[in-house]
């Protein structure tokens, strides 16, 4: 079964706007990662945040982690049409060495 939930399930915005996606997970983790998937393709790693970190930036991406609420958010600033894809969070625990993915948010950025 999926580890967590992503919210919203689908998001449609105009180019230049910011996109925020949220993710919740169920068990304790060592890190949480965000991946992107274009239609019909494999997943591409975007960013990793460790359990002792609260915020991390990479280019136009900003990730936050709240371990007390078991939740994370991904913010994409100044979105572009090329950002259109599905975005998945994945929680990772050293206990079982596997990643648990959420159901994903399908982002559409209109030009």
């Amino acid at each position: 079964s999926q580890q967590g939930e992503e919210d919203p399930q689908a998001l449609s915005i105009q180019e230049g706007e910011n996109a925020t996606m949220n993710c919740s997970y169920k068990t304790s983790i060592n890190n949480l990662q965000w991946y992107r998937q274009n239609s019909g393709r494999g997943l591409v790693h975007l960013i990793l945040i460790r359990s002792n970190e609260r915020e991390k930036h990479s280019g136009r991406l900003r990730v936050t982690l709240d371990t007390s609420k078991k939740s994370s958010s991904l913010l994409i600033t100044a979105s572009r049409a090329a950002d259109t894809a599905s975005y998945f969070c994945a929680s990772f625990s050293y206990n079982n060495n596997d990643m648990r993915f959420g159901a994903g948010t399908r982002l559409t950025v209109k030009p």
């Binding site: 999926q2 019909g40 494999g42 990793l48 079982n96 060495n97 596997d98 990643m99 159901a103 994903g104």
Partner: protein, 114 residues
């Protein structure tokens, strides 16, 4: 260098047929994972190898599913007596170290069982 490759990219099988899906990980990567992704869902963990050892197969949905990585490189996921509910995209990922922090995914094999 080359990324993770999977073959075939698409497979159509009649219910009851056996299928074999291949994954070529990035050269030198120790860890290899298989995931099943249903339409509109996130990937679900199937099994994990560290070199040739299958350390976790808790995600395999039934005993019809079998995975191997005999020489610690290429891996094959075999599904026997396929059922319609096996229709999904099967993703393979590899990671450099024993603790697979960042995984590199292949493009997947889309299996359709008629």
């Amino acid at each position: 260098g080359a990324g993770v490759s999977q073959s075939p990219r698409y497979k159509v099988a009649k219910r009851g047929q056996d299928v074999a899906l291949r994954c070529d990980p990035i050269s030198g990567h120790v860890s290899l994972f298989w995931y099943q992704q249903a339409l509109g869902q996130g990937p679900e963990f199937l099994t994990y190898f560290q070199n040739e050892a299958q350390l976790d197969k808790s995600g395999l949905p039934s005993d019809r599913f079998f995975a191997e990585r005999p020489e610690g490189s290429v891996s094959t996921l075999k599904i026997q007596r396929t059922q319609q509910e096996d229709s999904a995209v099967y993703l393979c990922a590899s990671s450099l170290r024993e603790r697979p922090i960042t995984q590199y995914f292949g493009p997947g094999t889309r299996l359709t069982v008629l």
